[in-house]
Amino acid sequence: MSTLPGLLPELDVVRKDFPILERTLADGLPLVYLDSANTSQKPQVVIDTMVDHLERHNANVARAMHQLGAESSEAFEGARDITAAFINAPSRDEVIFTKNASEALNLVANTLAWARGPLQVGAGDEVVITEMEHHSNIVPWQLLTERTGATLRWFGLTDDGLLDLSTIDSLINERTKVVALTWVSNMLGTVNPVAEIARRAHEVGAIVVVDASQAAPQLPVDVAAVGADFLAFTGHKVVGPTGIGVLWGRRELLEQLPPFLGGGEMIETVRMERSTYAGIPHKFEAGTPPIVEAVGLGAALTYLSHIGMEAIHAHEQAITAYALDGLQTVPGLSVLGPLSATERGGAIAFELEGVHPHDVAQVLDSRGVAVRAGHHCARPAHQRFGVQSSTRMSSYLYTTPAEIDALVEALEYTRSYFKLV
């Protein structure tokens, strides 16, 4: 294994934590998993913690007064504490568990649609997003604006894949109610100047919603430093399970917003005529929450913190730089988005001239290399660059330089398979 500066010092030990990395695929090939921006693999400790919960402590939370109930509630609410600490939230009550990042973003858009008073979004109001958003940070705002009569506007992109900030003064104006943007693009890899944009948005009194789905796995997150009012991420990309996402929101705003889903846990008192609602965070958590998933997420964030988000970030940067170099040795390959690793996250989308991304991914798969092909839920960003779809490799804390070598080699093979050489 080559040693690049910045790699996690005990990378082989880290890899041993992830049972799936030992899998062999068809033809006895080892798995080269380069699809972590799509979903990350899970360390043994996350799986074991979930199993232990299910085998020994399973019970519903909040409502149950017995020993199992107390254990389950403690584990579940403990996960909230861990999550709050992970993003440096001022209060644990500001951490709401959702089913994924998409629900977290929809929660904000939906409650803004039903809000009355200063937070209400309606005709004449503007919501600003960007052209590099994941569909999950586009469609909720389209639905909100279509349904309330507000106007949707967006930042365009520069040719090198950055936000075009030249229009910021007209985009963010006194009509702007919400600015929602991704911290790290899942397609272009771009890391956006979120704090700077948040400052501008706050000057006009807009609410800032940050999609940290790709940031939380890779960067140290500090909700205060980033200047967000809401911040969303998803469990399955931070080595946690599916079925859980996180919405952090400023207490003052969460308290003002109306409820999202109605049901058990989110109420204070229910009469047939009318109900009153619980305080945050429970007000936004209707029904039995994703209990074992929260417990798994807690174990995941503890695992990441133990390795250290700074170290993980350095590792991602090292691998990304190595990959950018390697990819560019492949004839006919062009990378979408910034070409310098320091400006970007660990997802690298690219085109290979003469071969459709589906076919690239298929041939790579025959060599055990797992990447993603398509528009990666970022169709507008693809369109912006005149691209129908792309191939995307994405690394994580368990990725080795040797795996990047395997990717590059498999790309060479793809070219020869399709007779481009």
Partner: protein
């Protein structure tokens, strides 16, 4: 939970207050009335405070709930009626610390009197809310009274 813990939870003092609650019933005069609910179980308390010249003249209440929540309301009234608001708040603070201490806080009998019987409750996270229901209501009601004064 062990039977030993059970006895620690259901101290005689608590059961006595439960069977014979002090200061129960809603009385006049009062400056503020609040209604608090434990959403998990539905326990409820309506609580009134009468504050005059910075002194807690009366706390009256009507409550439905378990032994812990009922006894706690009774002990609350014993402890705060007749005290200055600031002294009463100090007692509140101590009780809160005791309840949130997960069983590690040593209660001060001089201050908490019968309230020390709740030390065992702190080991039962699900019951801490029961013990605090009326205390939170009292704090809320008192804050409203002071809000009106100023």
């Amino acid at each position: 939970m062990t039977t030993q813990n059970l006895d620690a939870l259901y101290q005689e003092i608590i059961l006595d207050h439960y069977k014979n609650p002090h200061h129960k019933g809603l009385r006049e005069p009062f400056e503020a009335e609040v209604h608090h609910v434990n959403p998990t179980c539905g326990d409820e308390v309506t609580l009134r405070v009468h504050v005059q010249d910075g002194k807690v003249e009366d706390v009256s209440y009507d409550a439905v709930g378990c032994s812990i929540s009922q006894a706690s309301a009774s002990v609350l009234t014993d402890l705060v009626i007749g005290k200055s608001v600031s002294d009463a708040m100090a007692v509140h603070e101590q009780f809160l610390t005791l309840m949130q201490g997960k069983g590690t806080v040593e209660p001060d009998e001089d201050i908490l009197e019968d309230g020390i019987a709740f030390a065992g409750v702190a080991k039962f996270p699900a019951r801490v809310k029961c013990a605090l229901l009326s205390w939170m209501a009292w704090k809320d009601a008192t804050a409203r009274t002071l809000g009106e004064d100023s």
